[in-house]
């Protein structure tokens, strides 16, 4: 079974630029999550999709972050414009149904904003 795929693995941008991350979950998983992990901290949920609908985006900074999951499969997370404090690892995870279940994580995208 293929795992969660993410790209790119690394990205360096300057502040005020835009950036996009892509995630392909495990086949058949209905629920997809985007997390932000700042160095030395645990992952913080940004947004959760159930199929192609948003379940929870309460911690997503909506003035600069956006995400979509077209057709209920792949997902894209965008930051525009980026700030220095957005430097972090962005993790995508998926699960069969809901957040109470085991989540399977991708390798993450390490973002550095200069």
């Amino acid at each position: 079974e293929a795992g969660v795929a993410q790209s790119p693995r690394y990205k360096i941008i300057e502040k005020r630029q835009s950036v996009a991350f892509w995630c392909n979950p495990i086949s058949g998983h209905a629920t997809l999550y985007w997390y932000q992990q700042i160095l030395g901290q645990g992952p913080k949920l940004l947004i959760q999709f159930q199929n192609n609908g948003v379940v929870d985006d309460s911690q997503l900074p909506k003035d600069r972050f956006s995400a979509e999951r077209l057709k209920g499969v792949d997902s894209t997370l965008k930051i525009q414009p980026a700030k220095l404090e957005d430097s972090a690892v962005y993790l995508c995870a998926s699960s069969w149904r809901d957040r109470g279940e085991t989540q399977y994580f991708g390798p993450g995208t390490r973002l550095l904003v200069l």
Binding site: V4, G40, Q41, G42, P43, K44, L45, D56, L91, A93, R99, G100, T102, Q103, Y104, F105, G106, P107, G108, R110
Partner: protein, 108 residues
């Protein structure tokens, strides 16, 4: 905010020793999960314990849960150098909230 809080923040042991990590959380949960993260990698699920369970084993892992104290512990027996990683607890209530993690270093 972080719901799960791990203790200690860092732990250094020798191969063959046991490693114990503790986790406290704040609200009611359906289950509590433990994950491992190797440097530069994503998180890997280790074990899930439901709120009506008190202890669970998986290989060299032993997890306990005390819902009255809102705490859990993860014991890794006979540690190996390959166990070197960060370990996170995640409390699953209305949301899955991760703690800050315990960094375990096992030296040979």
């Amino acid at each position: 905010s972080q719901q799960g809080e791990e203790d200690p923040q860092a732990l250094s042991i020798q191969e063959g020793e046991n490693a114990t990590m503790n986790c406290s959380y704040k609200t009611s949960i359906n289950n509590l999960q433990w994950y491992r993260q190797n440097s530069g990698r994503g998180l890997v699920h280790l074990i899930l314990i439901r709120s009506n369970e008190r202890e669970k084993h998986s290989g060299r892992l032993r997890v306990t849960l005390d819902t009255s104290k809102k705490s859990s512990s993860l014991l890794i027996t006979a540690s190996r150098a390959a166990d070197t990683a960060s370990y996170f607890c995640a409390a699953a209530g209305t949301a899955l909230i991760f703690g800050k993690g315990t960094t375990l270093s096992v030296s040979s």
